[in-house]
């Protein structure tokens, strides 16, 4: 379980992220929703230890496995968390996607000192595996600047999932994609959570897509955690007014009547 306790990012003048606490369990997908500037991406960076210059991090992030002692690091153990970044600038512009992905696999297996390195590589490249379903030959052979929006998002997700970490943070994995590509991405995220029992944190500004795939949802506003809720509660109108406002802001809901709380009993 990934425990985040009072995680915050602040400087002397400004509070970017107020103390936030939550847990992410393996096999679950947690969504993080909020308007721009709400601190969603900052949350992912803070968990990884990427703090903007001039700011400091407060609180702690710990990993515990049931039955084993806590591994108490004040910074997230790198072997446990990987980021599926928002933009393709995290890919080296002069190397193909496959080269970089394979390198990620090689480095992480070295780090984990697994004796079954070759076995892991074989599984990764197994044509039956989900990994090659995400990355086809076309994407693998491209250089980052040749990737279209959809291809880039798939490459970025693969960059994280091929690292075989226990937890994955996906930062806007479907921003700007058409519905078919978004479905592929979410299918892979579900696979990672359900079939491989990894913990997945998905950051998005698209509440509708998130509701179809997340088990729980964290709502952020201006760096603060407004509430922690579930898709059912949002759909039935039993969540914080700000969350409801976000739900109402979805184009499909623009002219729907606001659900009155009194009627849900």
């Amino acid at each position: 379980m990934l425990s985040v306790e009072k995680l915050s990012i602040q400087s002397d003048e400004v509070n970017l992220l107020s103390p936030i606490s939550f847990e992410l369990k393996p096999g679950k997908i947690m969504g993080v929703i909020g308007a721009s500037g709400s601190g969603k991406s900052l949350l992912a960076s803070a968990i990884l230890g990427d703090i903007p210059k001039g700011f400091s991090r407060g609180g702690k992030v710990t990993f515990s496995t049931e039955g084993l002692a806590n591994s108490d690091d004040s910074f997230a153990s790198v072997a446990s968390v990987a980021l599926a970044a928002q933009s393709a600038t995290v890919l080296d512009p002069l190397r193909t996607v496959l080269t970089q992905l394979l390198r990620r696999v090689k480095l992480t297996t070295q780090r984990k000192a697994e004796s079954t390195q070759s076995a892991l590589l074989k599984t990764t490249l197994n044509t039956q595996s989900q990994y090659t379903q995400l990355i086809n030959r076309q994407i693998a052979r491209c250089y980052p600047h040749q990737l279209s929006g959809g291809m880039a998002k798939k490459a970025l997700l693969a960059q994280a999932s091929w690292q075989q970490t226990d937890y994955i943070l996906a930062d806007e994995p479907c921003c700007g994609l058409d519905s078919q590509s978004a479905q592929d991405i979410y299918a892979h995220l579900s696979y990672l959570a359900k079939q491989e029992t990894r913990g997945v944190l998905v950051i998005s500004h698209n509440l509708k897509q998130l509701l179809s795939v997340a088990d729980e949802i964290l709502v952020l506003q201006e760096g603060q955690l407004v509430e922690r809720t579930t898709p059912d509660k949002i759909l039935s109108g039993m969540s914080h007014p700000y969350t409801q406002a976000l739900w109402q802001a979805i184009p499909a809901n623009w002219h729907k009547e606001k659900v009155k709380y009194a009627e849900i009993a």
């Binding site: 308007a35 721009s36 279209s148 929006g149 700007g176 500004h205 976000l246 109402q248 184009p251």
Partner: protein
């Protein structure tokens, strides 16, 4: 009236291929949606309608542009960061388009705080900048608006607010709108009819 029939745009020198545009007809007060996957050339279509790019074939009827006034067809696109001179304050950019301070009365309608106007484009957020970008296009002479994925990168609340303000304004002034987007539900809410381009 704004009308495009059999529109065709060739690219490259001597190339046979090009983009075949769907037929479009925009009447005052009408809100028309254009839905299509990216990469097809929706922005090229917008440029042709705004008079920035020349058609290779077909017929284009544009409203008359009076000399000295701005183009009656205004194109607003997705990334406002590229639409502003980074060295001017936002107020200066607005006054350049409006040739005066006529925009002041509309600030509240588009939820723009006057304090933002003294900043430079890099000092305001994407949502704030896009609202100012839209306001800049709504001068007296504007009759037709081409909204090219204008809220694609904005969060839901800002998107809702922008379309509410814009919808109200275009209804008051009987402006015509071509809304280009890959969000079908948005088009369903905001347009009278939708063209599906494949």
């Amino acid at each position: 009236m704004l009308k495009l029939s059999n529109g065709h745009l060739a690219y490259g020198i001597g190339e046979q291929t090009g983009i075949q545009f769907p037929d479009i007809e925009l009447l005052p007060g009408q809100s028309l949606g254009l839905f299509g996957p990216s990469g097809l050339g929706k922005s090229s279509l917008a440029k042709v309608l705004a008079g920035i790019e020349a058609l290779s074939g077909g017929e284009l009827v544009l409203p008359e542009k009076q000399s000295g006034l701005a183009n009656p067809v205004q194109w607003i696109f997705q990334q406002p960061e590229f639409a502003f001179n980074p060295r001017l304050t936002l107020r200066a950019s607005l006054e350049e388009s409006w040739r005066g301070e006529g925009y002041q009365s509309l600030l509240a309608q588009f939820a723009i705080l006057p304090s933002w106007l003294d900043r430079r484009p890099s000092q305001v957020s994407g949502g704030q900048l896009q609202r100012i970008n839209i306001l800049r296009a709504l001068t007296e002479s504007t009759q037709y608006l081409i909204c090219d994925e204008i809220t694609a990168h904005l969060d839901m609340l800002t998107q809702q607010q922008i379309w509410q303000s814009l919808g109200q304004y275009t209804k008051e002034r009987k402006l015509a709108r071509l809304v280009i987007s890959h969000d079908e539900e948005l088009l369903g809410q905001v347009c009278d009819s939708i063209i599906y381009w494949s």
